[in-house]
């Protein structure tokens, strides 16, 4: 076994033993056991460095792969790593852009603005004006954020993945582990990681997001400076403002944070239900309230997609959820790939109805409580959660959490109403549907007129 393999095994063993101890050697209640395992998993990821932190972050938006307890525990992953010395960052920029940062930019800050497991961000100013993809002109001297992939991180991740591939092969041959499809899972993680390591992908997703919301004066997406962007360097407009943790300052400066939170919830619903592309990692660090009172969206590393049929099905699920109609919600969920065996359907339906009464039949609705319970129900009945479904519900819960931290009265289902109404109405007014319904409707209209 390689040295890295021994390190991973040692960390896994140590945290595995702690989890076993905390779960009373498997004798404690199931929920408690799961929480102990989830905590051990988070601590192990933090101890093992970039690739595992990234794996943990990717898993934290995928309740279709890991238990709800693990999802919410991995949300707390601390992506705090020491900064890379600026000379190493300079070297990456020189290699990627052909000159030292002091020559590429008018100025370059040696102190990083942010450091994370995969990349580090430095402030700089543009030496020449640049027009972004969405037509906005950044003047010479404009402040930009330069995100640089940490040197050596790609090699370290590749090494870890080589080891993981070997372990996945072995796991595939072990019955109870094979159920988790380790090879397929690993391939998925590999492609997610590859996308994360190529910063051009993030830049393109951001540009597309800006295009989708070009008509929304309250949405701000930093323009990408493509002449200064490559696989390992992403240069984009600097978003100046307050983090969500500094909202007190924003409000003192006259920003209506509650109105922005409501708008943010609507923007998310529009992403999912209208454009079919959504920012799937909207935790507080990726949202900034700008000095002129807009919502700045950053870090488009994890994004989700919805197809038109999925959007219609999501609208139906949301409408059914808003009306506490468990049967209809489950029927619409089938269109999203949720396969419910006939034998468990009645139990699942009554479980969902119970959750709806407990979490949604109040104002504001508690989407997180409902989703957590629902995912638990699916796990209990061993029903696989489709990939897109998992990512979407997690994003929904994150958005609710962020919005609620600002305004506890925000109701996500209310924010969805204008879009679901339009989608459901469009569906009902399809020619074939109208042909089917018009005779009865006309008879009713005539009856009304005669009366």
């Amino acid at each position: 076994m390689s040295a890295r393999g021994r390190t991973i095994a040692a960390v896994a063993l140590r945290h595995g033993a702690t989890a076993a101890w905390r779960s009373g050697l498997g004798l404690r209640p199931r929920a408690e056991r799961r929480r102990a395992v989830a905590r051990a998993l988070r601590l192990a990821c933090e101890a093992l460095g970039p690739s595992f932190i990234k794996l943990g972050q990717l898993a934290s938006v995928r309740p279709d792969l890991v238990s709800p307890e693990t999802v919410f525990e991995l949300e707390r992953l601390q992506d705090r790593v020491p900064a890379v010395p600026v000379d190493a960052i300079r070297e990456v920029i020189r290699r990627e852009l052909g000159a030292a940062p002091e020559r590429v930019f008018a100025s370059f800050d040696p102190e990083p603005i942010a450091t994370a497991s995969i990349a580090q961000v430095h402030g700089a100013t543009l030496a020449a004006p640049y027009r972004g993809v969405n037509g906005r002109l950044l003047a010479a001297g404009a402040r930009v954020a330069v995100k640089v992939v940490r040197p050596g991180v790609a090699r370290l991740i590749a090494e870890d993945l080589t080891l993981a591939r070997r372990w996945a092969e072995r796991a595939e041959r072990i019955g109870w582990l094979a159920r988790w499809r380790p090879n397929a899972l690993l391939r998925e993680f590999e492609s997610s990681l590859a996308r994360e390591l190529d910063l051009r992908v993030e830049g393109r997703v951001g540009d597309r997001f800006a295009f989708d919301f070009a008509d929304d004066a309250l949405v701000m997406v930093p323009a990408v400076v493509w002449t200064h962007t490559t696989r390992s360097v992403l240069t984009s407009e600097f978003v100046d403002g307050w983090l969500l943790s500094e909202l007190g300052d924003a409000e003192r400066a006259g920003i209506d944070a509650r109105a922005l939170a409501t708008h943010g919830a609507e923007v998310f619903m529009r992403q999912v239900l209208v454009h079919g592309r959504y920012h799937a990692d909207l935790h507080p660090a990726n949202l900034i309230v700008t000095r002129d009172g807009r919502i700045g969206y950053v870090d488009f590393g994890i994004a989700g997609r919805t197809t038109p049929p999925q959007r219609r099905a999501i609208a139906q699920v949301l409408v059914a959820t808003a009306y506490g109609d468990a049967d209809r919600a489950l029927r619409a969920s089938r269109a999203l790939g949720l396969e419910v065996p006939e034998a468990v359907e009645p139990a699942l339906r009554s479980g969902v109805a119970r959750l709806m009464r407990a979490h949604l039949a109040r104002s504001p609705a508690d989407v997180r409580g409902f989703v957590t319970g629902f995912l638990g129900l699916l796990a209990e009945h061993r029903i696989a959660i489709p990939e897109g479904y998992g990512m979407l519900v997690k994003a929904l819960v994150t958005v609710e959490g962020v919005a609620r931290a600002i305004d506890p009265d925000i109701d996500l289902l209310e924010a969805a109403k204008p879009f679901t109404t339009r989608l459901v109405a469009d569906q009902l007014l399809r020619p074939e549907r109208l042909r089917e319904r018009l005779p009865a409707a006309l008879r009713a209209a005539l009856a009304e007129l005669v009366a």
Binding site: L97, G98, T227, T229, A425, L428, A440, A441, R443
Partner: protein, 128 residues
């Protein structure tokens, strides 16, 4: 005299007919407005409650479209014409398609700029 009386009767008949016509319209108009008001009060999912709810919902949607058409005819300019679904729908569709194409082109320009930056960097490294 007889001729004048006949004329009066004819006029009354015409007036009566027009009054009946106006009354029918007034009643229909009130019925329509009531249906629109009921339709506007519907929530998502209510359209499937039955034929009456469906007609009310349809009335509300038609009324919203009518208002947009009115604004467009009043000459609000290209912006409202683009957002309306009336006679200028084709223009609006073309504008949308043009914007999407312009974005694709700009995105392509971005990709080329990025690739050029990488090529320049490799050239620089080779020359050094």
């Amino acid at each position: 005299m007889h001729h004048d009386a006949a004329l009066v009767y004819t006029m009354r008949d015409v007036l009566r007919f027009l009054a009946a016509w106006a009354l029918v319209h007034e009643s229909a108009d009130e019925g329509w407005r009531a249906a629109v008001a009921r339709g506007e009060g519907l929530a998502p999912g209510d359209l499937e409650r039955g034929p009456d709810a469906f007609v009310d919902g349809l009335a509300a949607l038609v009324d919203a479209e009518k208002e947009r058409l009115k604004r467009e005819l009043a000459g609000d300019g290209a912006g409202s014409a683009a957002s309306a679904g009336g006679p200028d729908r084709r223009d609006a569709d073309l504008t949308t398609a043009l914007e999407a194409l312009r974005f694709d082109l700009a995105e392509l320009r971005g990709r080329i700029e990025s690739l050029q930056a990488s090529v320049d960097a490799l050239h620089g490294e080779r020359d050094a």
